[in-house]
Symmetry: C2
Subunit: 107 residues, 2 copies
């Protein structure tokens, strides 16, 4: 008997709020995470993305991104995969992610 897969809560597409997305991406570490996932073009584990913060701070940042609707976190076995909700975001806020993610780091 396999264990019940854990499911993390996510806002539906219609529940995603602009203010929450802007807040989530207003932090340099979270912006870096979102950009890196976007560049991978696929769901990645947290360890695929280098961040200069503690593990617990990193976990917090991923949760903020998930709760804002920017990323989708799913379990694959014991690994947590992180994918950008690009389709949902592009539908809700056309042009927003292109404008935000297209800007070079440090600009």
């Amino acid at each position: 008997m396999s264990a019940q897969p854990r499911e993390l809560s996510h806002p539906t597409r219609d529940e995603i709020r602009l203010e929450s997305v802007l807040h989530a991406l207003s932090d340099p570490t979270r912006l870096h995470i979102a950009r890196t996932i976007d560049q991978f073009g696929a769901a990645v584990t947290c360890s695929d993305i280098e961040v200069e913060v503690t593990k617990s701070t990193s976990t917090h940042h991923y949760r903020v991104l998930r709760e804002a609707g920017v990323i989708r976190q799913t379990y694959q076995g014991t690994a947590k995969l992180n994918g950008l909700r690009r389709d949902d975001l592009d539908t809700r806020f056309p042009g927003l992610m292109t404008a935000i993610l297209g800007v070079e780091d440090g600009e």
Copy 2:
């Protein structure tokens, strides 16, 4: 002899940081202020814009917008005028303000 005009500090165009702009606009009241100024299409006084917060909170919000480079605040006599730095923002982050300001309130 006229009094020296007071000047408020603003970031230069190149000093405007994406994270600061996103943070400034991640608050519903500040987003409302920016949208309203954009709709006026000209610099407006704070009293032209209805906000449901106290005067001191309102002043704080305008300061955050100014320090992030979203608005320019200038004195005209004793009145403080607020203008959106649309040209600067569009140059620095193409498409960003269109994407953010184009989204309807409450979406």
